[in-house]
C-alpha cells in the first residue's frame, strides 16, 4: 500500500503546482475576477480538532492574500465563523457531513473589492472526502457602504468615462443620420469591429498594443468606406426609402454580429492590460492609467472632431449637407464625397469607441457593440437626432445617469433607467436637448 500512497501524494503535489500555474496564467491573461482559490493540502487543521469535517479556502484578490476577512457557516442548526489568516487562508470545522451555507462578510473586504454578483453566500456539500474547498470569486467593485458623497464622486468619474466613449460612437451615428437620414443599426457592429481587430492583432498576432490599436482604427475606417461603397451608396442611387434603408441596416447588423460569433466564438476575451490595478488615487476615486488614458483620448478626439466640424472646409460642408442636402449640392458641395468622409470618420470613431468600451467593461465579445447600441441611440435622441454636439451632451448624460443610477438600482437593471429617461425626454422635449423643432415633423 505504501508506494501507492506516495504516488497519490506526489500527484496531489503536481496538481497544486498545476493549479498555481493556472492561477498565475489566469491573472496574467487578465481575468477581472481572480478566483479565491482553495488550497486543500497546506491548511492547518490543528485549531479545528473537535470536528471531523472541514470547509476551507483561500481568499486572495489579484494574487494578494486578504487577511481578516470574516467567513460564517450556517446549517443543520450549527453556526460558526472564522477569519482569514495572514496568508488569506481559512478553515471551519463542522459536526456533520451535510449541506451548509457559507457566507463571506463583504464588509470585511478591503476597499474596492467585492464578491462577484450575489455569490457572497455559497451552499456547499461534502463530496467523498471530509474536507471541502469553497471558493469565493472576488472582483473589483464598490459596495454602498462607502459614504454617499464619495460614492457619488466615484460614479460621476466613471460615468464621465463611459459617457465620453459613448460620445465617440454617438457622434458618428449622429453625423451619418444627419447627412443620409439613416438610423444605422449596424453601428453596433462597427463598434465591436474595432475591439475585435485589436484582439486579433494585439493578442492573437501579439503585436504591440499601440500598433494593434492603430491597425484596428485604420481597418475600422476602411470598414466604413467599404460599407458605404458596397451597400449604402448603391442604395442611395436606387432611391431606396429611408425606412427600407433602416431595415437593411438591421439585417446587416444581424448578419455581421453572427459572422463575428462565427469567427470569434461566444466567449469574452481580454485585451492586454485590461485588468491592471487601479493605482491612481484622486481623493476617494481610484483609477487605473487605462481609465485616464481612455478619458484623455476621448477628449482629444472629440476636440479634433469639433475642430473638424467647425473650422475645416470639409467639416463645414458636412454640416451644410446635414442641414439641407439639396441646397448643399446646389452650392457646389460634392454630397457623395461628404457622405463617404462621414462614413469613414463615423466608423473610425465607432472603432475607437469599441476599443475603449472593451477596456471599460472589461472584455471583448461578439455582441459587445449591440449591448450599448440602444444607449448610443438614447444619447443621440436625447441630444437631438442629427446634431453632433447634441450627441456629445446626450452621451455624457446617459453615461452619468447609468453610473449614478446604480446607487439605488440593482446593477443588472442599470440600463433600464437610461432607457426610461429616453422615453421621458421624448415625452417632454421630443426634439432632444440641442435639437431644433423642425426636425421632428
Amino acid at each position: 500500500m505504501e508506494p501507492t500512497q506516495s504516488v497519490a501524494e506526489r500527484s496531489r503535489g503536481r496538481w497544486l503546482i498545476l493549479l498555481g500555474i493556472l492561477v498565475a496564467a489566469l491573472t496574467l491573461s487578465g481575468i477581472a475576477a481572480s478566483p479565491a482559490v482553495a488550497d486543500e493540502a497546506s491548511t492547518e487543521s490543528s485549531e479545528q480538532e473537535e470536528f471531523e469535517y472541514f470547509f476551507s479556502g483561500n481568499v486572495t484578490f489579484d494574487d494578494e492574500p486578504l487577511e481578516g476577512v470574516r467567513i460564517t457557516v450556517e446549517g443543520n442548526g450549527f453556526d460558526a465563523e472564522t477569519e482569514t489568516d495572514a496568508d488569506g487562508k481559512w478553515t471551519i470545522g463542522v459536526p456533520e457531513k451535510a449541506e451548509y451555507e457559507l457566507t463571506l462578510d463583504e464588509d470585511t473586504l478591503p476597499e474596492g473589492v467585492v464578491v462577484e454578483d450575489g455569490q457572497a453566500t455559497v451552499t456547499a456539500e461534502f463530496g467523498l472526502t471530509n474536507r471541502k474547498s469553497v471558493n469565493f470569486f472576488l472582483g473589483e467593485g464598490q459596495r454602498v457602504t462607502t459614504d454617499i458623497g464619495a460614492q457619488v464622486l466615484i460614479r460621476v468619474v466613471n460615468g464621465l468615462n463611459f459617457g465620453l466613449l459613448l460620445a465617440l460612437a454617438a457622434i458618428g451615428l449622429s453625423l451619418i443620420f444627419g447627412t443620409t437620414g439613416l438610423s444605422n443599426f449596424a453601428h453596433a457592429e462597427m463598434i465591436t469591429f474595432g475591439a475585435l481587430m485589436v484582439l486579433s492583432f494585439g493578442v492573437d498576432l501579439a503585436l504591440p498594443i499601440w500598433l494593434a490599436i492603430i491597425i484596428a482604427l485604420v481597418l475600422s475606417a476602411a470598414l466604413g468606406w467599404t460599407l458605404d461603397a458596397a451597400i449604402w451608396k448603391p442604395l442611395r442611387r436606387r432611391g431606396v426609402g429611408l425606412i427600407q434603408l433602416m431595415i437593411v441596416s438591421i439585417g446587416l447588423s444581424l448578419a455581421m454580429r453572427y459572422v463575428y460569433q462565427f469567427i470569434y466564438g461566444g466567449s469574452t476575451r481580454q485585451l492586454p492590460g485590461a485588468t491592471i490595478p487601479s493605482d491612481i488615487h484622486l481623493g476617494p476615486v481610484t483609477l487605473s492609467w487605462i481609465d485616464v488614458a481612455s478619458m484623455i483620448t476621448s477628449v482629444v478626439v472629440l476636440g479634433a472632431v469639433a475642430y473638424f466640424l467647425l473650422r475645416t472646409r470639409i467639416g463645414k460642408a458636412t454640416r451644410a449637407v446635414s442641414d439641407n442636402a439639396s441646397l448643399a449640392a446646389a452650392s457646389g458641395i460634392d454630397v457623395d464625397r461628404v457622405i463617404r468622409i462621414v462614413w469613414v470618420m463615423g466608423a473610425a470613431l465607432a472603432g475607437l469607441s469599441g476599443i475603449l468600451w472593451a477596456y471599460f467593461r472589461p472584455g471583448v465579445s461578439w455582441d459587445m457593440g449591440f449591448q450599448i447600441l440602444l444607449l448610443v441611440f438614447a444619447a443621440v435622441t436625447l441630444g437631438g437626432l442629427g446634431t453632433a454636439f447634441g450627441a456629445l451632451v446626450g452621451s455624457i448624460i446617459v453615461g452619468m445617469f447609468i453610473e449614478l443610477s446604480t446607487l439605488w438600482l440593482p446593477s443588472d437593471m442599470k440600463y433600464v433607467g437610461a432607457l426610461i429617461v429616453l422615453i421621458l425626454v421624448l415625452l417632454f422635449r421630443p426634439q432632444g436637448i440641442l435639437g431644433r423643432r423642425e426636425r421632428i415633423g
Partner: protein, 327 residues
Amino acid sequence: MIDWIAIFSNAAQELISPTTAAYALAALGLAIHFGYTGLLNFGQAGFMALGAYGYAISILSFGFPVWAAVLVGIGASIVFALILGIPTLRLRADYLAIVTIAAAEILRLIFTTNTFDAITGSASGLQGYKTGFAALNPIPDGTYGFGPFTYNAYDWWIRIVGWSLVTVLAVVTWLIMRSPWGRVIKGIREDEDAVRALGKNVYSYKMQSLILGGVYGTLAGMIFVLPRSVVPANYQTSLTFFVYAILLLGGAATILGPVIGSMIFWVLLSFFSGFVARAVEAGWLPFMSQVQAGQLRFILVGVAIMLIVIFRPQGIFGNKKELAFVK
C-alpha cells in the same frame, strides 16, 4: 451519409408547429402596425414577452384560471401600447422605432433581473403553468397523426388552438382592413396629413392600431410558450427582427403574407439548419463546428432581410402599390 428523410421530416413538421403559429400571429400584428398603418414597431418582442409572462405569472403567482390569465396578458399589452404610444405616435417614424426597441429591452431587463426573482424566475424563467391549458384539452390521451406529423394529445391541442387562433385573427384582420376603419388606417400610411385634413383623429387611429397589433403579439407570446418554458433570453431584439423577416418575406400589407411567410421561413430555416448540421457531422464542411453551424442561420436571416427589402420590398404576396415604405 446524410439522413435526408430526417431533414425533410423535421422541416415538414415546422409547417404546423406551434412556434410557426406564434410567429405568424406576431407577424400578423406587425402587419397591422407596419404594413397597414406604417408604424415602425420594433418592440414586438416586448408584446410577446408580456403575453408569456402575463399568462405564466397570473397562473403561477396568483392561481388564475386560463381565461383570466389570457385577459391579464392582453390587459398588460394594452397598457404597454398606451405607454409606448403616448409619447411617440405624434413623432416621426424612427422615434417610434427607437422607443419601442428600448421599451422591449426594458421589459426584458426587468424580467431578467434578480430583484424580482420570486415572481419572474429571473434568468432561468418560469415553468409549470401548463396544467390549466392541458386540462381544457378535449382530445383523449394517445398518439395521433401520420408520417412526420405524429404527436400526442397535448401537442395536437397546442397546434389546434394555435392555428385556430391564427385563422380567426387572419379573418378578423381581413374584415377590419376592408372596413371604414381599415381605410382610414391605410390612408394614414399613405398620407397622414391628407387623413388629418379629412377631419380624422390620426393620433387616436394610430393608437388603436398599436393596441390591436400589440394584442396579436401578446397572444403570439402565449402560444409561443405553451410548448416550451418562459425564458427571458428568448425575448431579445432579434426575436422582433425574425418576425420582421417573416413579415417582409410574406408581404407587409397582406393577410396571407405573415401566415404563409412564417411557414416558408421556418420550413426553410429548419431545412437549412438541419442540412448544415448533418453536413458538418458528415464532414462535408471541415472548417465548421456544430456550434458554428447553428449560428449560420442568423447570418442567413440577416442577409435575407437585406435582400428582400432591397430587391422585393413588397414580399411574396404584396402589391407594389401598397408599400409601407413611404418617403
